[in-house]
């Protein structure tokens, strides 16, 4: 069985850990095949160059989480992290003082930047970097091109890199729209279109629908590949009980005129039967009232607990998602 997952960072990482646990039959409830091949197509819109380092937050969040090297308590980065290099950069007045990189994390960025400067594309660099760990999931950046998300914050077109808007200003500056700088000439990375076309089931992780999944969908060729795919596409709502689970996705949804609700996000993705993406959509039990609207749009709706408290609950969610594919 081939499972392809569209994913952002932290939430997507937890979901992928659940998919892997389910595929490996790590829990009694997991009834999938141990031979499942899992591929993640990962958002790279948050990526950036900072002080000569290429930073790929979503790829790294997923890798660290699947490697068991993530800081579970803090929710991001490496466990046992220190910030000695960043302290030096601040002393030299270099970089963004509000964006602190951990030392272990800098090791990853140095390795990646080294590969990229040697002419190795991001997809191959990612393969080399993840090879260090047995993560059990093939990580594909959605594109090898540098397509970075910028946030337009005023009518004259002033924009900020997504990381600045998100991390420095905590999404408090109203976003007018999101722009994918350089998207026109971008192509899906090698393997991405095949992973969509050859999948038995395609899952959309409960990631930010605008700047994570939306950025993936914005790469030319991706949306068409998804609508043409033979596999059912099952999405997991990132909205639980009418609110975002983490992060500030509501500020992003507001900018594109989509309400922060499980049904609004489903309708934003659209029904596969009507030229949209979704075959099925998982909503949390707290959002059961939204099911009717979603079903009416031609999207099979499954009401089930979505909260990924730990690996067993994430594994159960993955099982539900695969089951929803029918």
């Amino acid at each position: 069985m081939r499972i392809t997952v569209l994913s952002g960072g932290v939430g997507g990482a937890r979901f992928l850990r659940g998919v892997r646990a389910w595929a490996r039959r790590e829990y009694p409830d997991g009834a999938g095949g141990s031979t499942a091949e899992i591929t993640a197509i990962v958002n790279t819109g948050d990526d950036m160059w900072l002080t000569g380092l290429r930073i790929s937050p979503d790829l790294d969040s997923i890798m660290y989480t699947l490697a068991g090297a993530n800081d579970e308590e803090r929710g991001w980065g490496r466990v046992g992290e220190t910030e000695r290099v960043s302290g030096e950069l601040r002393a030299y007045d270099v970089g963004w003082p509000w964006f602190t990189l951990g030392d272990l994390d800098i090791g990853t960025h140095l390795a990646r930047s080294h590969f990229l400067r040697s002419g190795i594309p991001l997809s191959e660099a990612t393969a080399r970097i993840t090879a260090r760990w047995d993560i059990g999931v093939r990580l594909l950046p959605v594109t090898d091109s540098e397509v970075e998300t910028h946030v337009v914050v005023d009518e004259s077109g002033t924009s900020q890199h997504f990381q600045e808007w998100w991390t420095r200003y905590r999404a408090s500056v109203p976003a007018l729209r999101f722009v994918q700088e350089g998207v026109e000439s971008a192509e899906p990375a090698p393997g991405v279109l095949e992973a969509i076309a050859d999948a038995d089931v395609i899952l959309i992780a409960p990631s930010n629908p605008v700047v994570s999944i939306g950025t993936i969908l914005g790469i030319p060729g991706i949306r068409a590949a998804l609508t043409a795919a033979k596999a059912p596409v099952v999405g997991v709502s990132p909205i639980i009980n009418g609110a975002v689970v983490r992060g500030m996705a509501d500020a992003c949804l507001q900018a594109i005129g989509v309400a922060t609700s499980a049904d609004a996000v489903a309708l934003h993705y659209g029904a596969k039967s009507s030229g949209g993406l979704l075959t099925a959509w998982l909503v949390d039990t707290s959002d059961a009232a939204t099911a009717e609207t979603i079903s009416a749009a031609g999207i099979r709706t499954v009401v089930t607990p979505l909260w990924m408290r730990d690996v067993p609950t994430s594994s159960q969610l993955a099982a539900d998602a695969v089951a929803a594919a029918g």
Copy 2:
């Protein structure tokens, strides 16, 4: 009073600390002026790009030492250093496993590399980096060009970067000759020729005569500026009691056919009166027997203790060197 010092790394750093202490009258024996301007012209032949980081060992050794941030016990690098980033690089199989960079040190390299990639030349990058500390000495890389020392190790011309030969093989592979890659098109960095022409005294630190001082002298224009300088040139022997003080300078001297002795190195530099460099040369009391040969060549010879045990002895050595200028 303007003092210009030609310098390599660790030994040069200790010497410069002594020159500064003397200039600041930090010790009773120091009778110099507190208004002395000290400029160091620093070897950059050991520099290299490693994993996207521009490493300038001699500039950093001097900066750390003058900043009091060096590891006095180990003899190089930052005090309280850790190696967490390098551990990651090894895990990713990136870089040179035999060349370990400290975390604090990587902060310096990241800042420098960031400046260089922004189009800022090394001399200006060095000014920005050293501005963090009150080091009291102007550090000038001898050139802004990337001129790296390579070591030819066999007749067919096979060569290694100096760092590989020195750090990995501990100078155990016989060197046939040293090559300055890219030297043809190199120029002295801004301020270097002026620092030589305007100096009241020029000192040659007890650094490696071949790959530190020799590399400085190899940059087009430097040797001519030194022979044309109005200031006396005073050298301090890096050989004490017929042996190298630290490092493996004897392997370097052997490659260029110079004996490891205080007089052989002096004659290698040559007398200013005969078109060479030296007005005066300081030899250690243990090498007093060499004084006659050196004097006979037209170089004023001063026999005095050269061992830089601590800052006071280094300060005294600086006082002796300035006094030798006459």
